[in-house]
Amino acid sequence: MPEITREEVAHLARLSRLALEDTELDGLAVQLDVILGAVAQISEVTDAADVPPTTHAVPVENVHRPDVVTPSLPREDVLAGAPAAEEGRFRVPRILDEDA
């Protein structure tokens, strides 16, 4: 099964929003290859072809509640746990390019 390259790991890290060090990428490429080699056994299960997938252990569907407004957590309590807040809102770093 797959040989996972360092470049692939770097791509996955970018998708996952993980700014990994070069040494971490090297280590993960080796480890993922071993782990994927082991989990790839799953392809040996040939009688799975026509089987429906299970997404959840206990089938429950369409759980509704009455459409009634209930109190939310107090805003100041929630913002107290945020890394940065301003004017009653979460403060985030720059989200647009300088020249945008």
Binding site: R17, L20, A48, T54, A57, G81, P83, A84
Partner: protein
């Protein structure tokens, strides 16, 4: 005077209700025990002295009563607690104070349970040794150089070290049962949906389930009953009464019960000493009047790979919420870096190696081109494992196996070999994939260390675990002349 930390939860609650001792005295005795031994064990990440004593005072004032009123408990640090730090064993949530209580936390408070503090765990519950905690490992009270299991090693060790008679764990692939097995305690993963996940920091939402840790089967049943039951705030919570677990734990009779040994969960891969204690316990069940057979669950051989595709996939999605905006750590916010750069730097700094490994693995398994071969196939295998369980339960009331392939291993022994660590969950994972309840209880020692037997039951038949566990425990205590934990070495205080 009796050492209050040696009492069971049942004995503790009875002594408090009879006013032989106050809840404050009980709480203080356990806080003192923590102060004396937790430097060596490191079961707790945070001790809430003030909150514990305040709750004990409420019990003493008669403001709250019930079968567990005044009983101390260690709460796994994955369950949120209003006003009390919750880290999930991770740097990314260091210092975060949740603004709300989990349903489990609320129910414990309402039952008069005294929460002593938050217990140590592998970061985000990913691990089998508690060595992946960002705050250092927990040590096994039986041998401080060994692991207490994981991810709920803190909860199991707290119970085994008499720091608390009860604890709450969570079990995604064995994180309650494997620690119970290697610490000589009782641990139960209830039926999926049997205990609310509201306020449980999510790892793998289709598998995560909170449950009781205790020193006896009956204590576990009382705790199970206290935290279980429908919760409208968790849409996957089962809208049905809690199975009659307490009554079943008291029955101590397995006459005519059909017990089946799962062929695929014995033999190769299990230490000889573990296999011997397991075989002896099965023979004892037969002596007690159960009928014992063997069943084959052929797809269990693929439970481990299915789990290590499904759980990391769900984790990679769930852990996206740690975005450096709403809670926890923020790194690199220098006014120049973009949100995306700050997010990436924060997550790289805040997550440990195992968490990064699983996020990357899950992202890979979910990527286009690989989705069908990995995640899709794993979900189909999950269906086949469920069918194996259903077929086995046509001829058996419960299934049994060793709970863990080996006894507690030395700290550090498997830290550099993720696959060897993952194999610790060999026997426990099938029940998570199926959703059924499962218990580990102590059945003896191998190499001087505890061995656990696992009982697995059909979904919403949790009482069967307690019926088997209660009967087996009583017979073993007769044989041993007391609980297994009584033979654990004394911790130096």
């Amino acid at each position: 005077m009796t050492d209050l930390t040696r009492l069971t939860a049942v004995e503790t609650a009875a002594a408090i209700a009879a006013r032989e001792v106050s809840a404050v005295e009980v709480a203080q005795a356990h806080l003192d025990r923590i102060a004396a031994v937790d430097g060596a064990v490191h079961a707790f990440l945070h001790v809430d002295t003030e909150g514990a004593l305040a709750q004990a005072e409420r019990v003493d004032a008669g403001e709250v009563s019930g079968p567990l009123a005044g009983v101390p408990l260690g709460l796994k640090d994955v369950i949120v607690t209003k006003g009390v730090p919750t880290t999930v064993g991770s740097r990314i949530l260091e210092g975060w104070i949740p603004p709300y209580d989990a349903t489990v936390t609320e129910r414990l408070r309402a039952a008069g349970v005294v929460v002593l503090g938050k217990t140590n765990m592998d970061e985000f519950a990913m691990g089998s040794s508690t060595e992946h905690s960002a705050y250092g490992p927990t040590h096994n009270p039986w041998d401080l150089t060994r692991i207490p299991g994981g991810s709920g090693g803190g909860s199991a060790a707290a119970v085994a070290a008499y720091e608390a008679p009860l604890a709450i764990g969570t079990d995604t692939g064995g994180s309650i049962r494997q620690p119970a097995a290697v610490t000589g305690t009782v641990g139960v993963k209830p039926t999926y949906g049997g205990v609310s996940r509201y306020g449980l920091v999510a790892f793998s939402s289709s598998l995560d389930q909170a449950g009781p840790c205790a020193r006896t089967v009956l204590d576990a049943a009382l705790l199970h009953e206290a935290i279980g039951g429908h919760d409208p705030r968790d849409s996957t919570s089962i809208d049905a009464p809690v199975p009659p677990v307490v009554e079943a734990a008291r029955r101590k009779d397995v006459t005519g019960l059909r017990v089946a040994v799962v062929k695929e969960l014995t033999g190769e891969g299990y230490e000889p000493g573990v296999q011997e204690r397991f075989d002896e316990a099965v023979a004892l069940l037969q002596e007690l009047g159960a009928t014992v057979t063997e069943v084959s669950c052929p797809h269990f051989a693929y439970a481990l790979p299915a789990y290590y595709l499904i759980a990391p996939s769900e984790a990679s999605s769930n852990l996206a919420r740690f975005d450096s905006v709403r809670y926890g750590l923020r790194v690199g916010d220098d006014g120049v870096n973009s949100l995306e750069e700050v997010m990436s730097q924060t997550r790289a700094a805040g997550f440990g190696a195992e968490v990064k490994r699983r996020i990357i693995l899950g992202t890979y398994a979910l990527s286009s081109g690989y989705y069908d071969a990995y995640y899709g196939q794993a979900q189909k295998v999950r269906t086949l494992i469920t069918r194996d369980f259903r077929a086995a339960f046509e001829s058996a009331d419960v299934l049994v196996s060793p709970a863990s392939p080996g006894v507690a291993f030395p700290l550090g022994a498997k830290l550099d070999d993720p696959l060897a660590m993952y194999r610790q969950d060999l026997a426990t994972i099938p029940s998570n994939l199926y959703g059924g309840p499962a218990m580990s209880l102590p059945v003896g020692l191998s190499e001087g260390l505890p061995v656990g037997l696992q009982v697995m039951a059909p979904t919403m038949r949790d009482e069967l675990l307690y019926q088997v566990g209660g009967a087996l425990e009583a017979a073993l205590h007769d044989r041993w002349g007391g609980p297994l934990l009584a033979s654990a070495p004394e911790l130096e205080v």
